[in-house]
C-alpha cells in the first residue's frame, strides 16, 4: 500500500489505492451502510450522512471528470482483485473509466444528490426515511458500479443490485397493497428479463476467456466471423435484459406501476439510474452491436415500438405521474435508437448524450410533480388541473422541464434528440434498414412528445379547475387505475360544470380546512437546498446542450440538417396547436378528454399488458407450481407409504410364519430346493 500519495498537478493523477472512480462507487454505498449502522431512529442523522455522502460522491465524480478531461484518470482501476476460477476464464473485476461514462457518473451523482436532498423534505414525517435514504445510497452506488464497470460480472452485480433497490423503493410504503404488488412486479419482470442476461454474458465472457469488457470487445471483434450466431444470440440475450431494465416492449408494464413508490424514488429510477442502465450497458457493448445486424434490427424494432407506443400511452394517461413514466419509456427508447443508428465504429455518444439530457429534465419533472402533488394532494388530472395557476413558484421550473422534454430549441432535449434524428435520417438515406425504421418512429415520437407535453402543460395551467376542488381529505398519490378503472374514478369524483363549480348544489359542502380558519398557511415548499438543486437541474436542462461543443462528447453537430430541424419544429408547433384546440372546453383543460373513454381507460391500464403478464406467465407458472407440489405430495406419499408397505409385508410374513413346527419343516424343504436350484444354475 503506497504510503505517500502523489498528486500530479498537471493531469490531476492520484497515486492512491482509492481512485476517484472507486470513491464514486464507494461513497454512496458507504452512505447506506453508515445510515443503517450509525443511526437508530434519527432521520436527521440519516439526512446528514446522506447529504454529505451524496455531496462527496458528486465531488468525487467531478474530480474524476477533471482527471479525465486532463487525461490523468486511471483507465482500469482494480477492485477486490482477480477471482481465481481456473484457466478457462479470467475474472479481473476491474473498473473502466472512459469519457462517456465519467459524464454519466457525474449526472448520476448529481441527480442522486438532488433526490436525497429533496426526499428529506418530501418524506419529512415518514418513519422509514432512514431506510429510504440508505436505499437511495445503495441504488446510486449500484448504478455507478454499472457505469464505471469494466467487467461483465461487475455489471451484473450493479444491475441486480439496482433491481433490488428499486424493489425496496417501490415497496417503500408497503402498507398499501398496491405498493407491495408493484414492487413485486417490478423486480420479477426485470428479473425474468435478466435470466438471459447471465447466459448472454456467459457466452461473451467464455468466448473471450475473460470477463473484462475491453477484452470481450476485442475478442469478438477479431473473431466475429467465426462466432456470428453465438454473438447474435448473446447480444439478443443482453438486449432482452436491457429491455427489461429499461422497460421496453414487452417488459414495459412494470414502470408505470412503479409510480407506487415515493416520487423522489421515481425521479431516481427514471432519471438517472435503473432505466438508463440498459443504455449504459449497451453503450459499453456498442462495438459488438455493429457486428450483428440481426441484433441491431431487433433493438431498433423494440426501441421504436416502445418509443411510439409509450408516447401514445403518455398522451392518454389520466394520472400525470404515469404520463411522465410513459414518457420515460419513450425517451429511453429514443436513447436506444441513438445506439442502434450510431455511425459505424463510433462510440456511443448519441445515446449517452440523450441519456444525460434526459437525466436532467426528467429528474426535474419528477421532483416537481412530487412537489405539486404535495400542494394539491394528488397527481390525477382532476387534482393537478390548474395547479400551476396558483402555485407560481414551480411554474417556471415545470415549463423548462416540459420544453426540454418536448425538445424545443435550444434546450437540452432538443439538442440530443435532434442529433439522433439527424443520424437516423443520414443513415436511412444511406440505405440502412434499421435507421429507416428508426426514422419513421422518430418522426412519430417528435409529434407525440409535443402532444403530451402540451397536454400536461395545459392541464397544469388550467384556470378554472382549481376552484372547484373542495374536498381536501387525504388522497393517495395515485389511484390504482388497474383496479378501479377510469370510469369509476370519474363517476366517483364530484361533478362540476364547465367552470368547475360543483353541479349538485343541494349537497352540504364538505368543510374546507385549509385556509379559512387560521389564515393563509405558508405553502409547503422544499428546503433551500432542494430548491437550489431543482434550479440547478433546470439550468442544466437549458444550457446542458452546450455540452456537445465540449471535447467530452464527440458528436457531429456541425453538419446539422437545418431543414430537418425546421420541419420538426413546424410539426411540433402544429401538434401543440391541435392539442390546445382539443383542450378548449374540457373541464380540466385536458385534451385527452376528447378521446373516447374506453381508449383512455384502456390506455391508463397500459393496454392491459399486465393481464397478459398474469395470463401468460404468472398463472401458468403458479399452475405448474401447484402441479409440481401435487407431484411432490405424491412422491412424498409414495416414500411415506413404504413403511406401511413393509408393515403389510411383515403382516404377510407373520401369516406365513405360522409358528407350527411343520411349516418350519416345509420351509426347510423349500430352502433345500431353492439352494439346490441355485447350486445347479450357478455352479
Amino acid at each position: 500500500m503506497p504510503s505517500a500519495s502523489r498528486l500530479d498537478t498537471q493531469s490531476l493523477a492520484l497515486d492512491l489505492v482509492l481512485q476517484p472512480s472507486h470513491l464514486v462507487v464507494l461513497l454512496p454505498a458507504a452512505v447506506s451502510v453508515l445510515i443503517l449502522v450509525l443511526t437508530r431512529r434519527s432521520a436527521r442523522g440519516a439526512f446528514v450522512i446522506a447529504a454529505i455522502g451524496g455531496l462527496l460522491g458528486l465531488l468525487a465524480a467531478a474530480a474524476l471528470l477533471a482527471q479525465q478531461a486532463r487525461g490523468g484518470a486511471v483507465a482500469d482501476p482494480r477492485t477486490i482483485g482477480e477471482l481465481k476460477v481456473g484457466p478457462a476464464l479470467a475474472v479481473p473485476l476491474r473498473l473502466q473509466v472512459d469519457r462517456l461514462m465519467v459524464l454519466v457518473a457525474v449526472a448520476v451523482a448529481l441527480v442522486s444528490l438532488v433526490v436525497q436532498v429533496f426526499a428529506r423534505w418530501y418524506l419529512y414525517s415518514d418513519p422509514r426515511y432512514r431506510q429510504f435514504a440508505a436505499t437511495v445510497g445503495l441504488f446510486t452506488a449500484a448504478m455507478q458500479l454499472v457505469v464505471l464497470s469494466g467487467d461483465v460480472l461487475l455489471i451484473l452485480v450493479g444491475w441486480e443490485l439496482m433491481g433490488w433497490c428499486s424493489y425496496l423503493l417501490i415497496g417503500h410504503e408497503s402498507e398499501r397493497a398496491k405498493a407491495r404488488r408493484a414492487s413485486y412486479k417490478a423486480f420479477l419482470v426485470t428479473r425474468i428479463a435478466d435470466a438471459p442476461f447471465a447466459i448472454g454474458l456467459a457466452v461473451l465472457a467464455l468466448g473471450a476467456r475473460s470477463t473484462s469488457i475491453p477484452q470481450i470487445v476485442q475478442h469478438w471483434q477479431s473473431a466475429a466471423a467465426d462466432h456470428g450466431t453465438a454473438l447474435t444470440a448473446a447480444l439478443l440475450c443482453v438486449i432482452c435484459a436491457v429491455a427489461g431494465k429499461s422497460a421496453q416492449v414487452p417488459f414495459q408494464d412494470w414502470l408505470p406501476d412503479a409510480m407506487e413508490g415515493p416520487t423522489p424514488a421515481s425521479a431516481l429510477i427514471h432519471a438517472a439510474t435503473m432505466v438508463a442502465a440498459g443504455t449504459v450497458v449497451l453503450a459499453k457493448l456498442v462495438a459488438l452491436l455493429e457486428l450483428s445486424g440481426t441484433a441491431r434490427v431487433v433493438l431498433t424494432i423494440v426501441a421504436s415500438v416502445s418509443m411510439v407506443g409509450a408516447a401514445v400511452l403518455a398522451f392518454c394517461q389520466h394520472d400525470l405521474k404515469r404520463l411522465l413514466a410513459w414518457s420515460t419509456v419513450s425517451q429511453v427508447g429514443l436513447m436506444l435508437l441513438g445506439l442502434a443508428v450510431l455511425p459505424v465504429r463510433e462510440p456511443a455518444d448519441l445515446g449517452i448524450s440523450h441519456l444525460l439530457s434526459h437525466a436532467m429534465f426528467k429528474a426535474l419533472l419528477f421532483l416537481l410533480i412530487g412537489w405539486l402533488s404535495v400542494l394539491v394532494g394528488g397527481t390525477i388530472v382532476e387534482r393537478q388541473s390548474g395547479a400551476l395557476s396558483k402555485h407560481l413558484a414551480v411554474r417556471w421550473l415545470v415549463g423548462i422541464g416540459l420544453l426540454a422534454l418536448a425538445g424545443v430549441p435550444p434546450l437540452v432535449g432538443f439538442v440530443s434528440k435532434d442529433l439522433i434524428v439527424d443520424e437516423a435520417a443520414r443513415r436511412g438515406v444511406d440505405g440502412d434498414v434499421s435507421a429507416r425504421i428508426a426514422f419513421v418512429a422518430l418522426v412519430c415520437v417528435v409529434a407525440l412528445t409535443a402532444a403530451y407535453t402540451t397536454r400536461m402543460w395545459l392541464i397544469l395551467v388550467h384556470r378554472t379547475g382549481r376552484q372547484r376542488v373542495v374536498v381536501r381529505e387525504a388522497v393517495e398519490d395515485s389511484y390504482d387505475i388497474r383496479d378501479v378503472g377510469i370510469v369509476e374514478m370519474l363517476a366517483g369524483s364530484p361533478q362540476v360544470d364547465v367552470h368547475g363549480r360543483p353541479l349538485r348544489r343541494d349537497e352540504p359542502m364538505p368543510p374546507v380546512v385549509d385556509d379559512d380558519d387560521d389564515g393563509p398557511l405558508p405553502e409547503p415548499q422544499p428546503g433551500a437546498g432542494a430548491r437550489t438543486g431543482l434550479q440547478l437541474l433546470a439550468i442544466l436542462s437549458i444550457v446542458g446542450g452546450a455540452l456537445i461543443f465540449s471535447p467530452m462528447l464527440e458528436v457531429d453537430w456541425e453538419n446539422a440538417n437545418l431543414w430537418l430541424i425546421g420541419a420538426s419544429l413546424v410539426l411540433m408547433a402544429a401538434v401543440a396547436l391541435l392539442v390546445r384546440l382539443m383542450s378548449i372546453g374540457t373541464v380540466y383543460g385536458d385534451a385527452a378528454a376528447r378521446l373516447p373513454l374506453p381508449l383512455r381507460s384502456s390506455a391508463s391500464r397500459g393496454f392491459d399488458v399486465d393481464a397478459g403478464y398474469v395470463g401468460l406467465v404468472a398463472r401458468p407458472v403458479v399452475a405448474l407450481a401447484r402441479g409440481v407440489a401435487r407431484l411432490e405430495g405424491g412422491l412424498d406419499r409414495g416414500v411415506q407409504a413404504l413403511p406401511a408397505l413393509v408393515t403389510r409385508v411383515a403382516g404377510a410374513g407373520f401369516r406365513l410364519h405360522t409358528r407350527r413346527p411343520t411349516s418350519g419343516l416345509v420351509a426347510v424343504a423349500l430352502g433345500v430346493v431353492l439352494v439346490g436350484l441355485m447350486g445347479v444354475i450357478w455352479w
Binding site: 477486490i80 477471482l83 422509514r128 441486480e160 433490488w164 397493497a177 447471465a198 403458479v622
Partner: protein
C-alpha cells in the same frame, strides 16, 4: 498443532458424549452447565479449526487395520472453508440453543446432541481416509435423530417420529451405498487414503458403476432431486438449532463427499454420469423453486429453497470445469451461511408466531421487529442470488461453468441445463419476494407503520447469531475472493489430477 487436529473434532464429541451420558447420573445437568460446557467445547473447536486453517498440520496413524482405517487428519483448500464454517456455525448454534431451547428433553441431552453433530461434521471435513470419512459421516445420524424426534415441533409427536425416521433411514441408505462404493475403490486400489485413491483411478469401465452407487448414496445426503423428500420434512419439524446444523453442516457433507470420493478418484465415471446427475440437479432447482411458490409453511419453504440451491452446487460440480468446481465450493459455503441465517430467523419467527403458516395474516415484520426483519431480508436476498451477498457468486459462476462443460460432456445439453438453471434463479426471486411480501411487508393492508415493539425483536443470543451470519453473508458477497482464493489451489490440483 497435531493437538489442534484432535481437539477440533474431539472437543465437541467428548463434551457431547459427556453431556448425554452424564445427563442422568446422578441427576439432570442444569441448563447453565450444559450451555457453558457446550460453548467452551465449540469455542475450543473453533480455535483449533482456525489454527488448523492457518498452519495446515497433518496427523497420520494406523487405527483399525482390519478395515484399513487410519487416523489420518489433514486439511486442504477444499476442506478448510467447510471446516471453519462448521466450527463457527457450531458456536452460533450453541448460542442460539441457549436462546431457544425446546422442550421434550433435558438440556444436557439437547446440547450434547448438538455437540455430537458439530463434532461429526468437523471430523468429516478433517479425515483423509475414505472409511473414516464414512464413520464421521455416520456420527451425526443418531444425535440428529434424537434432536428431531425429541426436541422437534412439540405439536405433533407422530409427525416428529416420522420425520426423524425418514431422515435417518434415507441417510443410512445413502451412506451405506456410499460405503459400498468406497469399499470397491478401497479394494481395487488397496488403500483408503483419499489422496492416494484419487491418484489411482479404477479402470474406466468400472468407474461408471462405482460412481453411480456413490452418487446415489451421496445424492440422498445432498440432497439431489428426486431423493430429497426427507429434507423438507426433517427441516419442518426439527428445532431451530437442528435445522441450522442440518442445513449448514449435514448437507455440506454430501457435496464434500462428491468432491472427494467421486470427482477426484472417478473422473471417467463422473463424465459418463454427469449429464444425468446435472439434469436431476437442475430439475431440483426448478422443482424446489416451484414448490416454494405455493408452499404454505415458512420453514418448509426455506427447506425447499435448500433443495434448489444445492442443485446449483451439484450443477457446478458436474460441469467438470474449474469454474464449476469453484462455483460449487463457493455456493456450498454460501448456502451454509445463508440457510443457517434463514433458519435462525424463521425458527425464531415460528417460535414467536406459534406456527409458520404463511396464510395467516400478520403485521409487517419490518415494523414489528426491525432487526429480525433485516436479517430476513438479507437472507432471502442472498437466497435469490442478489449480488453483494453470498448467494450470487456461486450461482452465476455455476451457470458460467455449466455453459462450457469439461471433458466429453455434451455441450448442448449442459447449455440447456444452464439456461434452465438461470430460469430457476428467477423462481428463486419469485419465492423470496413472495415471502418478503407476506412476512416482511405484512399482508394486512392500510394504516401507517406502528412503532416497533422491542420485546418481539431479536435480542441477546439470537441477535448475535443473526448478526454474525448476516455479516458473513455480506462479507462473502462483497469479497468472494477470500473464499475463491482459498480453494483455488486445491481445485487446480484436483483438475490436474482429473485430467482437465
Amino acid at each position: 498443532m497435531v493437538a489442534a487436529l484432535l481437539a477440533a473434532p474431539l472437543a465437541p464429541i467428548v463434551a457431547g458424549l459427556a453431556l448425554v451420558a452424564g445427563d442422568r447420573v446422578p441427576r439432570a445437568v442444569s441448563r447453565h452447565t450444559a450451555y457453558a460446557v457446550s460453548l467452551a467445547a465449540t469455542l475450543i473447536s473453533l480455535l483449533a479449526a482456525a489454527l488448523i486453517a492457518y498452519d495446515r498440520p497433518s496427523l497420520n496413524r494406523p487405527w483399525v487395520p482390519e478395515v484399513g482405517m487410519r487416523l489420518h487428519l489433514a486439511v486442504d483448500g477444499i476442506s478448510v472453508p467447510l471446516l471453519l464454517m462448521t466450527a463457527a456455525v457450531g458456536v452460533l448454534v450453541v448460542i442460539h440453543a441457549r436462546h431457544e431451547q425446546p422442550g421434550g428433553g433435558t438440556p444436557g441431552t439437547f446440547f450434547g446432541c448438538l455437540l455430537l453433530v458439530i463434532g461429526g461434521g468437523i471430523a468429516t471435513f478433517l479425515v483423509q481416509d475414505a472409511i473414516s470419512f464414512f464413520l464421521a459421516f455416520e456420527v451425526v445420524l443418531v444425535p440428529m435423530w434424537v434432536l428431531i424426534n425429541r426436541f422437534g415441533d412439540p405439536k405433533d409427536a407422530s409427525e416428529r417420529a416420522r420425520a426423524a425416521a425418514t431422515f435417518v433411514l434415507y441417510t443410512v441408505l445413502g451412506s451405506t451405498l456410499m460405503l459400498v462404493g468406497i469399499l470397491t475403490m478401497v479394494f481395487a486400489s488397496g488403500t483408503a487414503d483419499l489422496a492416494t485413491l484419487a491418484r489411482h483411478p479404477l479402470p474406466a469401465g468400472q468407474q461408471t458403476v462405482v460412481a453411480a452407487i456413490l452418487l446415489i448414496g451421496l445424492a440422498i445426503k445432498v440432497p439431489i432431486w428426486p431423493l430429497h423428500s426427507w429434507l423438507p420434512r426433517a427441516h419442518t419439524i426439527a428445532p431451530t438449532a437442528g435445522s441450522m446444523l442440518l442445513a449448514a453442516v449435514l448437507l455440506k457433507m454430501g457435496t464434500y463427499g462428491i468432491v472427494r470420493l467421486v470427482i477426484a478418484p472417478l473422473p471417467a465415471g463422473v463424465e459418463r454420469l454427469a449429464p444425468y446427475v446435472a439434469t436431476c440437479a437442475v430439475i431440483g432447482i426448478v422443482w424446489g423453486g416451484l414448490v416454494c411458490l405455493v408452499e404454505r409453511s415458512l420453514k418448509r419453504l426455506i427447506a425447499w429453497s435448500s433443495v434448489a440451491h444445492m442443485g446449483f452446487v451439484v450443477l457446478g460440480l458436474m460441469s467438470g470445469t474449474a469454474i464449476g468446481l469453484q462455483a460449487a465450493l463457493f455456493a456450498n459455503i454460501a448456502h451454509g451461511v445463508v440457510s443457517a441465517l434463514l433458519f435462525a430467523v424463521v425458527g425464531g419467527l415460528k417460535h414467536r408466531w406459534g406456527g409458520d403458516d404463511l396464510s395467516v395474516a400478520r403485521r409487517a415484520l419490518r415494523d414489528v421487529s426491525p432487526r429480525l426483519s433485516l436479517a430476513l431480508v438479507i437472507g432471502l436476498a442472498a437466497s435469490l442470488g442478489l449480488p453483494g451477498l453470498a448467494g450470487f457468486w456461486g450461482e452465476v459462476l455455476a451457470i458460467f461453468g455449466a455453459w462450457n462443460p469439461g471433458g466429453d460432456r455434451s455441450t448442448g445439453w449442459f447449455r440447456l441445463l444452464a439456461a434452465v438453471a438461470a430460469v430457476g434463479a428467477v423462481l428463486a426471486a419469485a419465492y423470496a419476494l413472495r415471502v418478503l411480501r407476506i412476512v416482511w411487508m405484512g399482508d394486512a393492508d392500510g394504516g401507517r407503520p406502528l412503532p416497533p415493539s422491542p420485546e418481539s425483536d431479536a435480542r441477546g443470543g439470537e441477535l448475535v447469531v443473526v448478526t454474525v451470519l448476516g455479516a458473513a453473508t455480506v462479507v462473502l458477497g462483497v469479497l468472494p475472493i477470500i473464499l475463491l482464493n482459498t480453494t483455488s489451489g486445491a481445485v487446480d490440483h484436483l483438475m490436474a489430477v482429473v485430467g482437465r
